[in-house]
């Protein structure tokens, strides 16, 4: 995932018809595995599996424990602080996901080929951040125009 710093970008007002952001639970895994959202976003955690799940985040970022809930039920979490949240299930230790909360409207998650598209970026020089699962820390740099390539060491 990549995002651009935008400290002066206006915060949008919540719209009731805005598309929901979902971190699904099915087949004993979270889907998607990695999610990037803007600070202030509410993420839905539906249980569409055939077993109970207990979603929690204890370490960094947003800390919560949704308790145990069954198939067909849903919990919601407001990600109101920036940073990386490591999401686990208390019942199934092999389940893991990441939610990166950024204070910027300019962010994207890569597709299968590793490509991103971020639209409507204002002209100028921007500081970018990149992160992927397994990375010890973020990569940062500056970008002005054209295509940016991020190479992981």
């Amino acid at each position: 995932m990549v995002w651009l710093e935008a400290p002066n970008a206006p915060r949008p007002n919540p719209r009731p018809d805005a598309p929901r952001v979902v971190l699904d639970q099915r087949n004993l895994s979270f889907s998607p595995h990695v999610l990037v959202v803007r600070v202030g976003t509410t993420v839905d955690f539906p249980n569409n599996d055939r077993v109970f799940h207990n979603v929690f985040s204890f370490r960094d970022g947003k800390r919560f424990d949704l308790g145990m809930y069954p198939v067909g039920a849903m919990r919601r979490v407001l990600f109101d602080q920036t940073g990386l949240s490591r999401i686990f299930c208390n019942i199934h230790p092999n389940m893991a996901a990441y939610v990166m909360t950024v204070d910027s409207p300019y962010f994207a998650r890569s597709d299968e080929s590793g490509a991103f598209t971020i639209a409507a970026v204002p002209a100028g020089t921007h500081t970018y951040h990149a992160w992927r699962p397994g990375a010890v820390s973020e990569l940062t740099g500056t970008w002005t125009s054209g295509t940016l390539e991020v190479a992981w060491p």
Binding site: L28, F58, G67, I91, A115, F116, G146, T147, V150
Partner: protein
């Protein structure tokens, strides 16, 4: 090798926003395990899983496994590493099914067809494999043939209810993957499950076939169970009580209670603790035996998909089992979406 990510900045268009996940892309997952037990057992295992969504809201799950153990004394018995997979030294299909969930109003209807674990008690593989325990609960150890994590059904499963309370029924034929194999026939499994706050309770009943090695009997096996689970703030308490007639004239009654604890302060360590007991009585032969066990252990996430599991056990009641045992296993797992 460097992984390159290309970021293309477009000049004008609407802002990209995350979208709801309507389906799950097909995912492959592999796990490799190596282990040693002071029960004179060395073990290796691998599992390959493929799962995801296909058209029409149908999802599928498939799992194949190979596992083998070496014992210098072939007459020696041990259930080490038998938490959820059989150590039969051959590749086997474990589960392979398709399913569809429906949500009429606030209700829940789910149908599943294929090959799956019988929905009896706490039965999901992930509840037993790589949770920190290296042995299945005694009430789920196939040598007793009462209820086993190596039992599978080939048939159909239906779950109906509301999220707070569901009833599940499965109809199928045995498709066991362990060393103990049930006779062919028709099995019925019924389970009711409800939850209130952090507490989940379930009752299960299974009418199934006796094992092929059981004394000849025209009767079916009848197994009844009660299970409880409670979780809060990184602490999970579980328990099962199971009673049944595995060999026609014999009666098995067993239970276990365990705890899986992973608090923030524990970092990568998950602590596990289990106490359990299984009693076996046979009116015809007059035998009255029991096996009791206490287990303490840990699962340590070493990073990079590698997990270390250690278990120390004390057991009594069966002279074939040494009073003390120590199991250790390392598992490496990788997932490719």
């Amino acid at each position: 090798m460097a992984l390159r990510l290309a970021l293309v900045i477009a000049g004008a268009a609407c802002l990209i926003e995350p979208r709801p996940a309507h389906g799950q892309s097909i995912t492959a997952e592999a796990a490799l395990t190596g282990g040693y037990s002071t029960d004179d057992v060395m073990a290796a295992a691998t599992q390959l899983r493929v799962f995801g969504d296909v058209k029409g809201g149908i999802r599928f799950f498939g799992e194949a496994a190979w596992a083998g153990r070496s014992l210098s004394d072939l007459d020696h018995e041990s259930d080490s590493f038998n938490a959820a997979y059989p150590y039969t030294n051959r590749v086997q299909i474990i589960e392979a099914y398709g399913e569809r969930l429906f949500r009429p109003h606030d209700a829940l209807v789910g149908v599943r067809g294929g090959r799956f674990r019988p929905p009896f008690g706490i039965y999901n593989a992930s509840d037993h494999a790589y949770s920190g325990f290296l042995r299945a609960p005694l009430v789920r150890y196939e040598e007793y043939s009462l209820l086993s994590n190596n039992q599978l059904e080939q048939g159909a499963d239906l779950v109906v209810g509301i999220p707070r309370f569901t009833v599940e029924a499965a109809l199928g034929a045995p498709g066991d993957v362990g060393e103990v194999v049930r006779r062919s026939g028709l099995d019925t499994v019924v389970r009711a499950q409800g939850y209130y706050g952090p507490l989940i309770a379930g009752v299960s009943y299974m009418r199934t076939q006796p094992s092929q090695t059981a004394p000849v009997t025209d009767e079916h096996n009848h197994v009844t169970g009660v299970d409880l689970r409670w979780t809060h703030a990184g602490v999970q308490l579980r328990g099962e009580w199971v009673s049944g007639h595995p060999f026609g004239t014999g009666t098995s009654i067993g239970w276990y209670a365990d705890a899986i604890v992973h608090r923030t302060i524990m970092g990568p360590v998950t602590a596990v603790l289990r106490v359990e007991r299984l009693d076996f009585q046979d009116v015809e032969s007059g035998s009255d035996e029991y096996l009791s066990r206490q287990t303490i252990g840990a699962r340590v996430n070493l990073g990079g998909g590698i997990a270390l599991q250690v278990n120390a056990l004390h057991q009594s009641g069966d002279e074939d089992y040494p009073p003390l045992a120590f199991d250790v296993a390392v598992t490496w797992s990788v997932r490719k979406p």
